[in-house]
Amino acid sequence: MSRIGVFVCYCGSNIAGTVDVEAVADVARTLPNVVYVETNKYTCSDPGQASIKAAIEEHNIDRVVMGTCSPRMHELTWRKLLSETKVNPYMLEVANLREQVSWVHKDKAEGTAKAIDLIKMAVAKVDRNSALYSVEIPITDRALVIGGGIAGMQAALDIADAGHPVTLVERKPSIGGKMPQLDKTFPTMDCSACICTPKMSEVGNHPLIDVRSYSEVESVSGYVGNFEVTIREKAKYINYDSCTGCGMCETKCPTKVDNEYDLGMSKRKAIYKMFAQAVPSKPVIDAEHCRMLTEGKCGVCEKVCPTHSINYKDEDKLTTETYGAVVLATGYELIDWGKLYGEYGGGSYPDVITGLHFERIVNASGPFEGHIRRPSDQKEPKSVVIVKCVGSRDPNKGVSYCSRACCMYGAKHAHQYLDKVPDGKCYVFYMDVRTPGKGYDEFYMRTKNDGAEYLRGRVSKIYKEGDHYVCLGEDTLSGRQVSVNADMVVLETGMVPAPGSRETAMMCGVQCDLDGWVTEAHPKLRPVETNSAGVYLCGTCQGPKDIPDTVAQAGAAASKVIGLLNKPHIESNPQISHVDESLCCGDGACVDICPYGAIKLIEKEFRENSRKVKRTVANVNQGLCQGCGACTAACRSGAMDLLGFTNEGIMKEVDALCQW
């Protein structure tokens, strides 16, 4: 026989206002196995808690029902309280009499009746609860950061500065991401590369950071504290141990290809460093274009290399290591506007460019050494049209969300253009101007004062006429159609998740939303955590944001990782799935539905009817299981049970609600 104690709270007048607490307590006293019922004005206060402890001792209570606020609020408080008594912390049920009763009902009679039902259900369920015990999971003191942009670099630095080793994986030949490609950063107009490249070299030189450039995460398994991660280091064809980065090979390489770093507006060699300040400051060979690797002829770089570091036989290398925590910082890509906007020429006009092209054009290390020239004929454009929200906020064509940074970098482009071409004309077509941020609106007003002509409306068509481009659009403020002749058009295109980021997130058991952005655990209260314990996120992989927000979020993610890695071990959540192997038919429905990849099918030997038999049964990984219960619903044979929410316990709740 169980001995149940029921504690009903007034919560001041929060509960008592709409629920007759004493009536609820009276009914509770009549319920089977209830040996003690108490009401309290503020149960969560110190005297309230002391009274519970005393009652447990006095009445030899072995399980507890709390008729209080939501378990989201105080379930942990009660567990902690019980852990100080002889009662197991999981011999507890919380009947939510506040958020689900008093706060949502006005009629006291109705509220009381519902509160009584909830108490009955909780009593019925707690009667079937069993004691659960958490286990200690050891934590590997090493973090993995996926993505070497400003978000990943900041997170890696913060974690490493706190004394924890970090591996930073970047799929491009150099870390840095998009930030070094930018010219200036709004609203202070400090040079982007000048503030980003020191961080890059700090990352490269940090004794606790292992930079894995030109590498990708191949697979992730395991669970919080113990992620087994396989990293594929793509063949660089260079021995990085002996290469000094002298650049001789790059000078002599005869093959020229489009330079991705300048978005095809300049050329690079087949053996190349992405840009001058690249980290690691060593080249890789582009196997697709290298003559030696494609045709078997050439070998110039090998001949000129003073340290004999070229290795044409290099191959991809796979390494597997264990990490305690993972930070996703996979970043963004610009939307492929060419496919979506045929009316803007669909990418066939060389002078209709994206904002990132403009960043390279205006940048001193860019294709035109910082002089504003248009790509087609290198002439200085005397009039420029800037179109905002290309792909963003347009569910019919691109995506429905706002890309957040475009209003500001659009204003920055207008300002930079007018600064460098004083006799130029700049027109900005916009839907709305959104400039929330420190110093942002001031910057926008300054750009308007510089002479940028802001036109509220969208551009319907861009076509070439002779030497210039005609932009047809609407000025919704004057209600007129406008036609602007431009020498160059800059499309401020929206952000989309970087290619492969969904796959990487899925590997870590993390979901993405419909647009492909990685989903945080809670949009307000857990913004850098994911639903997978031990996996964190930062930067634009979660959604469009600017550099200040990205850096702030990276620091937040790092602090969470440091908090985790500082512990030698963590306590597991014992409310996880449990397989009744005698019932399990091994059909794997639970494996397919598990969002965390926590269930595997294994072959196991059983003794059945005095005979040894081998059967396939499901097996739950205690570290990975988050106790969501999806498998219990999917299991056709009823072999899966969620500890703490057993099928039997829930049926008893239903019975309690329906029978009495």
Binding site: G342, G345, G346, Y463
Partner: protein
């Protein structure tokens, strides 16, 4: 032989008469059999849509239901772009859900399964069979004629109904023009509005739109404009003089239906393919045709290659001549040979320049 249920529409015997005549001419030559839907009714056009959307869906559905019953299994071919759009909008509506179909059936009070597909001129011509037949049966080529293929709105928009290869830069007409040897130009106004009915209600607005299209085609070097919509054709062909008068321009560019162009390539005379029914003289096209098997003109690359070859030959000849003159000053034969070669190449160069 591809069979279609034919929905002529009201323009077939009025503004679109040239299209009707040319469709009748090319259909048998492209292995296409057209059977007119018996007792077809008005497609509803834009007027009904503005008055009563239910009627705009039911009117075409009636003709589609008749076609389904009388000409089972055949796609409905509407040569008028407006008819195509009305019919297809109705057909798609009925296909969308059982409720929609039930509603339409209630309105038309006829058995109807919404099994028919609706196609336009370009769909009919863009099949492999039709293209093969065109290649096999064509007699003439439109050598060197620069063609602005003009689609207008109803053949490409809305995208969900019309399902074109590209909304902004379709290529179906261009590909047909290439088959018959024409030179389609790349121009940005191919899907702009022709002004449609605004020419009647707000002529100022309508004329400006038509003018923009003609102007852009001419600016991009077009010799002729080709369309597949009777309304577009009327607004461009019939109103060219009005536009010239209003804007003080001097446009003189003929406008054809794509079916007329194919008809001309297939050997039709002016009356057979409807060229004599244009407002702007259009028969000139026939004088520019060349025989299908006439030698192809030189392409740019071929021209370059030929010039390179000639230059090399000339250089070699000069070298040879110089050498010969050096070695044996009195050798007449060699000197004659060099003298012959030099004027010959000079002639060729003049030809190229011309």
């Amino acid at each position: 032989m591809t069979k279609y249920a034919y929905f002529p529409g009201c323009s077939a015997h009025s503004t679109g008469i040239s299209q009707t005549i040319s469709v009748d001419y090319i259909a048998p030559r492209l292995d296409i059999e057209l059977t007119e839907i018996p007792d077809w009714s008005c497609c509803g056009t834009s007027a009904v849509k503005l008055t009563n959307m239910d009627m705009a869906l039911a009117l075409p559905a009636r003709s589609l239901a008749i076609s389904e019953r009388e000409l089972p299994g055949q796609d409905v071919f509407a040569p008028c772009a407006g008819c195509f759009q009305s019919l297809k909008t109705s057909a798609e509506f009925s296909k969308e859900s059982d409720e929609n179909l039930a509603k339409i059936k209630r309105m038309i009070d006829m058995p109807y399964e919404a099994s028919v597909d609706v196609v336009n001129v370009l769909d009919v011509l863009n099949t492999d069979e039709a293209k093969e037949a065109l290649k096999a049966n064509m007699k003439y080529r439109l050598q060197g004629i620069k063609v602005a293929c003009y689609y207008g709105c109803a053949l490409v928009r809305p995208e969900k109904i019309c399902d074109p290869d590209s909304v902004e830069n379709p290529q179906v007409m261009e590909n047909l023009v290439k088959i018959i040897g024409g030179d389609p130009i790349d121009w940005p106004f191919k899907v702009e509005c022709c002004g449609a009915s605004n020419h009647i209600t707000i002529p100022e607005a309508g004329k400006k739109l038509s003018k923009n299209i003609i102007e852009n085609a001419v600016d991009n070097g077009a010799d002729i404009i080709v369309t597949a919509c009777p309304l577009c054709w009327m607004n461009l062909d019939m109103r060219e003089d009005e536009i010239n008068k209003k804007f003080g321009t001097n446009f003189d560019i003929p406008v054809y239906y794509i079916t007329e162009l194919l008809g001309a390539a297939l050997g039709g005379n002016a009356t057979e393919i409807g060229l004599d029914r244009h407002f702007r003289p259009a028969e000139g096209l026939l004088t520019k045709l060349v025989d299908k098997d006439a030698p192809l003109p030189e392409t740019e690359e071929e021209k370059k290659a030929r010039l390179r070859k000639e230059a090399a030959a000339k250089k070699a000849a000069e070298k040879k001549a110089a050498k010969a003159a050096e070695v044996a000053e009195g050798a007449d034969a060699d000197a004659d040979g060099a003298a012959d070669a030099a004027p010959a190449t000079a002639d060729k160069k003049d030809e190229v320049k011309a």
